[in-house]
């Protein structure tokens, strides 16, 4: 419960829409209400090649990297 409250609060920080409202929304999402979430565009990475190319560009031009996951191998460069 505390974990879910924390998640709800994090969401609120982004949307400024009220912690209680979001928490109740979270609890009310039932399997048959996931029509929107099931759409391709709601994937966390909807376009794999776009994600891949962007990560390559920014990795080679900025000092910070990663954060979205692990694996994929290195680039073999410094």
């Amino acid at each position: 419960m505390v974990f879910r409250k924390l998640l709800a609060c994090l969401m609120v920080a982004g949307e400024l829409s009220g912690c209680t409202t979001m928490q109740s929304a979270m609890q009310s999402v039932q399997p048959w209400e996931k029509d929107q979430l099931a759409k391709e565009e709601m994937q966390l990475v909807p376009d794999r090649t776009e994600e891949f190319f962007d990560s390559r560009v920014y990795f080679s031009r900025e000092a910070a990297f990663g954060g979205k996951g692990v694996g994929g191998g290195g680039c073999g460069c410094n």
């Binding site: 399997p31 920014y58 979205k68 692990v70 694996g71 994929g72 460069c77």
Partner: protein
Amino acid sequence: MQLTKKRKGEAVRSLLSAASASLLLAVPLAHAEDVHQQHPEGAHQHHAEGAPDQPWRIDIGTMRYSEKDRISVSEQNFRARRQMSEENALSLRADYDSVSGASPSGTTKIQTTSGASGTAYMAHFQTTRAAAGVDWETGLSPDTHLTLSGDHSSSKMNKSSGIGATVARDFNQRNTTLVAGASYSVDAIDMAIKTELTPDSTATIRAASEKKDQIDLQLGVTQVLARGTLLQLNFVHGHASGYMTNPHKLISVVHPLTGETLTYSPLTEKRPDTRYSNALYAQINQVLGTGVLYSSYRYFQDTWGIKAHTVDFKYRQPITEKLYVQPHVRVYAQSAADFYRSMLAVGEIPTYASADYRLAKLLTNSVGVKLGYQPTFGGELTARIEAMRQNGEQHPQDAIGVQRSADLFPELEATIFHIGYTKPF
């Protein structure tokens, strides 16, 4: 024949049960696998495309990255994924890129000298790289999924190999997915490695190759917050050890008062041989009307003293049933590495030093737009253009004498053009 009220109620309940069962199977699996960056579509895509009849999915992309007066990159990427059974899928990935052009060498633009010490502000180079990878996704239980990955890339001087494993477990009616992952990679560089922080003109070759190890550990959670709202939180800790110096970069040596380079040879650079990094990443996908807003933020810090913030927004808006437009804005800001030096005064030999502008304080701004279209022959075609601009401190505090009058940060303007095609079948 008319149904009685009771029978109608039973029919509705049956329908809801069937719908809920199918959605239970379809949606959360997607989010579980989506957490892992390398395997974004997973079962989600499979079900969303009406899958048992479409066990294959291919992703093809080509990108052209062009910097004004600097390098150009041409890159091709391919992936094929095969759903082998309900719980098992195999993916093969391939990538090829070709880079050519000029890159800042690290030396200052103003070189008040003649003869041996003069070193080009820009260094020209050309290279090609090929990479391949494989992913195996399998179910450990109805709620737990394992993904194993292997990668290898190779260019003339660099080779990299890596393995990774990610476990995702669903909870809370599959509204919550916890993810834990780990990966290991080793990079090898095969070229003449010169002695570090020594004058380039007299540096000797101390090794024919060097290597670097990288371990990454990930903890993440994906949470359905509302009917049209999805949150991802990720923490990734990285530990790199080994050779991380850039053997192509130099640092100008100048007179301590005038800033003139005179006849001083620039020094080879040297970076620490360990680097611990932490990245905290948050992403929210939010349905807004008929569109979807993707918002993300990343905080990064490492033991080299770099702190970086990244914010990214994309908004996908359908125009027709087969066409959508997606504008994009990204802002990135980083502080300098502790050992970043735009130049060194003659006689000064720090423990570590690099004049690589990518370790300087800098800001990157990107704007772009993508169009997605579903052609009559199936799948989805995308075309995207992005403009990227990088700025930094033109007159850093450690600039000396005449170097203060120069623009020391090599500003960068680049365009990215990308065409992609995705098709399940």
